[in-house]
Amino acid sequence: MTAMGRIRAVMMLALGTVAMAASPGPAVSADFVPAVVYDMGGKFDKSFNEAAYRGAERFAHDTGIAYRDFGVTNETQREQGLRTLARRGATVVVAMGFAQAAPLEKVAREFPDTKFCLIDEKLDLPNVRSLTFKEHEGSFLVGILAAMASRTGTVGFVGGMDIPLIRNFLAGYEQGVRHTRPDGAVIVNMAGTTPTAWRDPARGAELAVSQFGRGADVVFAAAGATGLGVLQAAADAGKLGIGVDSNQNHLHPGKVLTSMIKRVDVAVYDCFAAARAGTWTAGHQALGLKEDGVGYAIDEHNRALISPAMEKAVEEARAGIIAGTLTVQPYQP
């Protein structure tokens, strides 16, 4: 054996020892690789995607297991992101947003051993868990609050892209407003019909200002980053905004009436936790008030805006919906 060969042999032995020593310890976590693919808007959109980010961060914090993520910057990257993460050995992948259903359908078939969780859309495959939210139930509650906070009796709604999901927010909101004020009016605007509608705050502000001009004094924004412009315009005009998906009350303290919360963070956390514990199942779950999947936010930033009477009314409605005595119709296309 030459000197060189000997050194190489020693090195290989050493490496082998290191590898063997390393494998039993972190093996548990190395085998389990959770991942998230965010949708357009990005993980700091202060709304839908950010909720997933918080859920994933909490999982990482609680378990010490690092997760992988992928930020989509244009529509063609969704499939690429899902496939890349699956190929690189992710155990469970969360796909955020209704638009990932089509790419996920392809990728999930290619990687039957990888578990996928799809948020906001249904997909019937043996390795996909679909989680949708009963947005209409949460929107019903903020509709009640909007109608009670409104002085003019007219409230506004600014949606992002005009899709059934957003119409579902609207359907619940309208029912909530009418439930409280049968004569109440809802002014509706959609920011657009293309994905650009999710990230055009200037347009959101313009839509909100137009609604204020027509008498609205509370406006509910279900429009991703476009909604930031809506809330901004409401704060500028001295009106009230209502946030969506994440708790957005802190964006303009005292100017955001409440936020319609979708517990996307809980859904992501549960998806990871179930996959880790081995209790993960495929199928569809619709999360509503009963499952604590949707709700409204009260914190120190909007405490003063919610009167005891408002809180009582909204809690009554909540209890009614959970008990089944009060039904909220979802959007019917």
Partner: protein, 324 residues
């Protein structure tokens, strides 16, 4: 009657707000294209202006520094465009498009590196945004019919950049048609060889035009991020640079018609916002998609039927090469 008046006034108010960035960007394009440099990079310059204005305003807490930074970013990109296609005779469309792509990627990347908020800047507080001017006498005029509400709705709060845009239009009309600089600028876009023969520097004139372009497009971007809006969001110009370019072509590269084209685009947009979900007589509620296509359908109709041929400046798009 009162309701109808208020509706019309609100539409006009909205038109002015939506038109402001279009006017600034279209007039930015007017300077460079009249000087013979095609500028398809308005979108990129606006986006850069929006980003640097918001980033600076957020870091320093001063909107005027933000505006200065936005303008500086616009000028820097305009000069880069000039370096590529005036100094080095590059293709003007390619260079402009390259700027658009560069900024679309660079702005979110820098935002991510500096603010770690996923390609956005933090939301700006009121003190870091360009102020609105409250015109005096709104209350005093309130009793006067027609003029009272008109004054109250249109002039109660006007952002400084809206006023500045108005000034830009007036000044441009004067400069382009009434000054020596304007004459030379137009000449260099029509027949640079003649300008050269007269002993004037073609390249320097075109660079001067591009600096003005940079200033105005930077302002257009700043309007979006620190005046009308409050912070930078990825791709926030959302095609307004291209729309401004369309308005410029629509306006046949002239001051008055270009202004009108911008106002028309903004007005149809304001109308479509107002018409969404409203039941109209006879037809009922029109689907959102159809209403949102209204501005574009109108543009096609007008372009095809009423405007006639849009003839660009003769030397536009061609680099000037002195024959030797």
């Amino acid at each position: 009657m009162d309701d109808a008046l208020t509706t019309v006034l609100l539409l006009l108010d909205s038109t002015i707000r939506v038109a402001t960035p279009l006017v600034l960007a279209a007039f930015a394009g007017l300077y460079s294209e009249r000087a013979g440099v095609v500028d398809i990079g308005l979108e990129g310059k606006m986006l850069a202006g929006a980003f640097f204005a918001a980033a600076t305003a957020s870091a320093m807490g001063n909107p005027w520094l933000g505006l200065a930074a936005g303008v500086a970013a616009g000028v820097a990109l305009a000069l880069l465009h000039g370096f590529a296609c005036i100094t080095h005779n590059g293709n003007q469309v390619v260079s402009g498009m390259a700027l658009n792509i560069l900024v679309a990627g660079l702005a979110p990347t820098l935002a991510f590196a500096w603010f770690s908020q996923g390609g956005q800047t933090p939301l700006l507080p009121g003190s870091a945004r360009l102020p609105s001017i409250v015109f005096p006498g709104v209350d005093a005029m309130a009793g006067v019919p027609v003029i009272g509400p008109a004054y109250a709705i249109l002039f109660d709060e006007v952002n400084v950049l809206v006023l500045l845009a108005g000034a830009v239009v007036t000044v441009t009309g004067f400069v382009l048609y009434r000054t020596r600089f304007g004459l030379r600028l137009r000449a260099v876009g029509e027949n640079p060889a003649a300008v050269d023969t007269a002993g004037l520097p073609v390249a320097r004139l075109r660079y001067q035009a591009l600096v003005v372009t940079g200033v105005l497009s930077g302002m257009a971007g700043a309007y979006l991020s620190i005046a009308h809006g409050a912070g930078f969001v990825r791709d926030m110009t959302a095609g307004k640079g291209y729309l401004a370019l369309a308005a410029l072509i629509f306006g046949k590269w002239r001051v008055g018609p270009t202004l009108l084209a911008c106002l028309l685009f903004a007005f149809t947009d304001a109308v479509q916002i107002r018409l969404q979900g409203v039941a109209l007589p006879v037809v009922g509620v029109i689907p959102v998609q159809a209403i949102q296509a209204l501005p574009y359908a109108l543009t096609v109709l007008l372009l095809a039927g009423f405007v006639g041929r849009a003839v660009p400046p003769k030397a536009s798009g061609q680099p000037y090469v002195k024959e030797r």
